[in-house]
């Protein structure tokens, strides 16, 4: 089969916030740049981001600055973050947000005409630049228009599946046009992976079909290191009913704007789940929590806005203890706490979403919500300053990269992460492409990959790829969910092996033209490979920290708190090791504080009440 060929200095895979920002930067620095994306331009998952972009602009609270943001990020990540990434992120996020404004973005305003900022979980001050509850749309459209106006080449509905290598270094990538099914290969001096996460391995997820772990799998295949793949974020609030919308996100902005979580008895249960690590920052009475929205100097933050891992575990525990709603969630109530027109103005798409999909008027009734797989903190190991992966010529930015968020990502830190490290990746890739000779893309490699793309048509398999995918989702949901156990993780690995064997027999009907069955059959390989990395890493880390909760090791362990779990592929097998985190320099450590997370977390396995208050 013929393979269409292209040559670029920099190929950016993925056109979400990170990919677009990387491409804009690489192009601006004079590198011949292409953006390749699986969907139409502007449909990437960034468009789903609702709440806002965290950046210490200090427009609402002049007390805010990068140091506070850095502290919040590190503590929210349970100190597993790459400190340098967290520092760069906190320092550069304001500039990246203001840059969007230079390109035409319209954020909501303060009375003085500056960018308005909203409260979000884990952030000391109101810090999120936002546009109602559709900030991601504003961001992606601004970047998209700017990229198009700059004249960057865009390859839409084009899936790149394998990296082409020249010895140790990256030489390009190969994949197929979704529309025609024709194969396409890029020769490139540098490749930036901005492919997002792997949410489609779980059943209840806020992620779209695109989230099949492509970038992680490609990097793994090319020999790059992954770290902390066990760190998956379950967003505490997603729709739970009706079934067909289970998992669709309900923005943290609901709580940022005054909404509160209640169990079926009507209790604001979050007050029972305040860990010691956050006690000094968190209100312990309803009065103080409510007063905090107006007066942040004299009150502490409401526990409804604890970091996402804490809230998700708390909801999970409440439901397991029988205090959940009819459909297995808890109530999120803003109707009784804010006026209807305020809710409609601040949260228009939440209002719309519940009204249209669940017949619920959120200005009149409480929402039913529960956790959904939302994000993976783990991913490709990168250098903090350049976003370079451990394979020369390979860069990664956004969700696909790891380190920035440690064990748990704070809401709002994702969009700023995309911008800060998207720009850095684009810059580093462009600079690398200027100082490096063109690599040679080996025809034999291209031919071998072309064979693999054709295989599902030729092998005459009988397995239905959709059925395999559904079983994979069940497996990850049941066995590698919010709360994990050794025996379940081992069971998951055994099932993954069986699924891998079945996926190799997946059959495809029809032609190559826009054939989702074929696309899924190819995606399964990635999904299973990355799922295995998650399950194995989860088995290795014998503690509970952030997005990784082990029922059999329910406490954070300071020993583990200083280690990354590293995953590599060697000789076709995953090899896992642990490596020490880079130590935080003294002056930054002073910002974070000396205490460490230490107490048992709520796993829901017993009616234990954390924090000693019932």
């Amino acid at each position: 089969m013929d393979v269409e060929r292209h040559e670029y200095d920099v190929v950016v895979i993925g056109a979400g916030g990170a990919g677009l920002r990387a491409a804009i930067e690489a192009h601006a620095l004079g590198a011949k740049t292409a953006i390749v994306c699986k969907s139409l331009l502007g449909k990437a998952h960034t468009v789903m981001a609702e709440g806002g972009i965290a950046a210490a602009l200090g427009n609402v609270w002049p007390e805010d600055n990068w140091k506070v943001h850095f502290r919040d990020t590190m503590r929210g990540g349970k100190l597993l973050n790459n400190w340098r990434m967290a520092q760069l992120h906190a320092q550069e996020a304001p500039d990246r947000v203001l840059e969007l404004e230079e390109w035409g973005a319209l954020f909501d305003r303060t009375n003085d005409g500056l960018i308005l900022q909203r409260d979000f979980g884990g952030h000391r001050y109101a810090r999120l630049a936002h546009v109602g509850d559709r900030t991601g749309l504003e961001m992606i459209r601004t970047l998209q228009d700017h990229a198009v106006a700059s004249g960057i080449d865009v390859f839409m509905e084009c899936t790149l599946r394998h990296l082409i290598t020249d010895g140790q270094r990256v030489a390009g990538a190969i994949g197929y046009w979704r529309q025609s099914g024709g194969l396409i290969a890029f020769g490139a001096k540098a490749v930036v992976l901005a492919t997002g996460g792997v949410g489609k391995a779980w059943k209840v997820t806020s992620n779209s079909w695109e989230y099949t772990g492509d970038g992680i799998a490609m990097a793994l295949e090319a020999g790059a290191d992954l770290i902390d793949m066990e760190m998956t974020q379950f967003h505490p609030t997603a729709m739970v009913w009706p079934l067909s919308v289970r998992g669709i996100l309900v923005t943290e902005g609901v709580r940022g704007d005054g909404g509160t979580l209640k169990n079926s008895k009507g209790d604001r249960f979050m007050f029972k789940y305040i860990p010691d690590f956050f006690r000094a920052d968190t209100a312990d009475t309803e009065r103080e929590a409510d007063a905090w929205y107006e007066d942040k100097k004299n009150n502490r933050r409401t526990p409804d806005l604890l970091p996402r891992d804490e809230v998700a575990r708390a909801i999970n525990t409440e439901v397991k203890a029988g205090r959940g709603t009819e459909h297995g969630g808890v109530f999120l109530d803003i109707a009784s706490r804010r006026p209807a027109d305020y809710i409609r103005r601040r949260l228009p798409s939440m209002y719309h979403q519940f009204k249209e999909l669940a017949d619920v008027d959120i200005t009149k009734e409480a929402m039913e919500v529960g956790p959904t797989l939302h994000y993976i903190m783990g991913g490709i190991r990168v250098d903090a300053d350049t976003a370079a992966a451990t394979v020369p010529g390979l860069y990664a930015a956004g969700e696909v990269a790891a380190g920035m968020h440690g064990a748990n990502r704070l809401g709002g830190n994702s969009l700023s992460d995309l911008l800060v490290f998207g720009k850095r990746a684009g810059q580093a890739a462009a600079e690398y492409s200027k100082r490096t000779p063109a690599p040679r893309a080996d025809d034999a490699q291209v031919g071998a990959y072309a064979q693999r793309f054709a295989a599902p048509f030729e092998r005459g398999g009988t397995e239905n790829p959709y059925a395999i995918h559904a079983e994979l989702q069940d497996t990850m949901q049941e066995l590698v969910g919010i709360i994990r156990r050794r025996d379940e993780l081992e069971e998951a690995l055994a099932r993954l092996e069986r699924l891998r064997a079945r996926a190799a027999r997946a059959g495809v009907k029809g032609s190559r033209v826009y054939n989702p069955g074929w696309h899924l059959a190819l995606d399964l390989e990635n999904l299973i490979a990355v799922s295995e990395a998650v399950a194995r890493s989860a088995l290795v880390r014998e503690e509970s920290r952030g997005g990784h909760t082990r029922e059999d090791f329910p406490k954070p362990d300071p020993e583990w708190g200083s280690k990354n779990v590293v995953t590599r592929r060697r000789d076709g097998r995953l090899v896992l090791t642990t490596e020490p985190l880079p130590p935080v320099p003294g002056e930054l450590r002073a910002l974070i504080g000396d205490d460490k997370p230490g107490e048992k977390v709520a796993t829901g396995s017993e009616p234990a009440i954390v924090g000693g208050k019932e």
């Binding site: 969907s39 305003r109 559709r134 749309l137 067909s244 996100l249 959709y466 495809v508």
Partner: protein, 278 residues
């Protein structure tokens, strides 16, 4: 809350084919409470037709990928609830008609991306003397309505100017592009000039304001009233209004104002000092 509690079987006719032709094929699959049309299409994919082509991403009405026509109405499949239809009612899903079919429910929407390339980009005026940008809620709100656009292209699909008259695609850009152009034109910071282009190149005059774009917009953008008609009025001032033309002539010739304030003079305004670096 009104939810059906008993699962029932639904029958759905889905248009299947490609650029050379096609037909409706009927499928029967079980339906669950709360399902939307896209769920049924996915179920058909998983159980009957694995190669059934359909675009989708967010499944929450935020990305604008799953545009199609349901019983002849341009809709997002993810936001069309199955309980909108009476039990036993025939449901027909077909691809949008303004654009060429690639396969099944997927069409070639590159028209929109090509037109987007011809829009002159945002060009902000200089920053305030203190290096900051100030905009006010009353000014951004008007444009924020246009920024709600999720590029589902349902307005382009329903617009008869291109839906029924292929030739017009050369000289008419469609409602989506007018929303985009209105957003740029009414942006409080923008200084670029587009009005003449809007008339001559994007073909605003082809729109006969029959408002179907507004009717189908899933984001409830008042495309006709708030984007297209205000643009038409601006075009009138710049191009058709004799009094406005005369006033411009007088102002240009008049000795009282040797340097008329205009978009061009703004471009060359002195740059403000850079903000102090953090």
């Amino acid at each position: 809350m009104t939810t059906e509690t008993v699962a029932r079987e639904v029958r759905m006719k889905v248009w299947r084919g490609d650029a050379t032709g096609g037909e409706f094929v009927e499928f029967a699959v079980p339906s669950d409470p709360g399902m939307v049309v896209l769920d049924v299409v996915h179920r058909i994919q998983a159980t009957h037709a694995p190669d059934l082509a359909v675009r989708w991403n967010c499944k929450a009405g935020k990305c604008g990928s799953c545009s199609a026509e349901v019983n002849g109405h341009p809709k997002l499949m993810c936001m069309t609830r199955m309980n909108e239809f009476a039990p036993g009612e025939e449901i027909a899903v077909s691809p949008v008609k303004s654009f060429p079919v690639i396969k099944d429910l997927v069409t070639d929407v590159s028209f929109n991306y090509e037109k987007a390339k011809t829009v002159p980009p945002f060009k902000p005026k200089p920053k305030d003397p203190d290096g900051k940008r100030r905009m006010y809620q009353e000014d951004v709100e008007r444009v924020q309505e246009f920024h709600k656009c999720i590029e589902c292209f349902l307005c382009q699909d329903v617009c008869h100017v291109i839906r029924d008259h292929e030739d017009n695609k050369r000289s008419f850009s469609g409602p989506r592009m007018f929303v985009r152009l209105a957003a740029l034109e009414m942006h409080p910071l923008d200084t670029n000039e587009r009005i003449d282009l809007i008339r001559a190149q994007h073909g605003l005059g082809y729109c006969n304001i029959t408002k179907c774009c507004t009717e189908v917009c899933p984001e409830d953008i008042h495309i006709t009233d708030n984007a297209i008609i205000p643009l038409k009025e601006r075009v009138v001032t710049a191009h058709y209004d004799p009094l406005a033309w005369a006033l411009r002539r007088i102002r240009r010739a008049g000795p009282a104002s040797p340097a008329p304030p205009g978009p061009q003079s703004k471009e060359f305004a002195a740059p403000t000092p850079k903000p102090p670096s953090a």
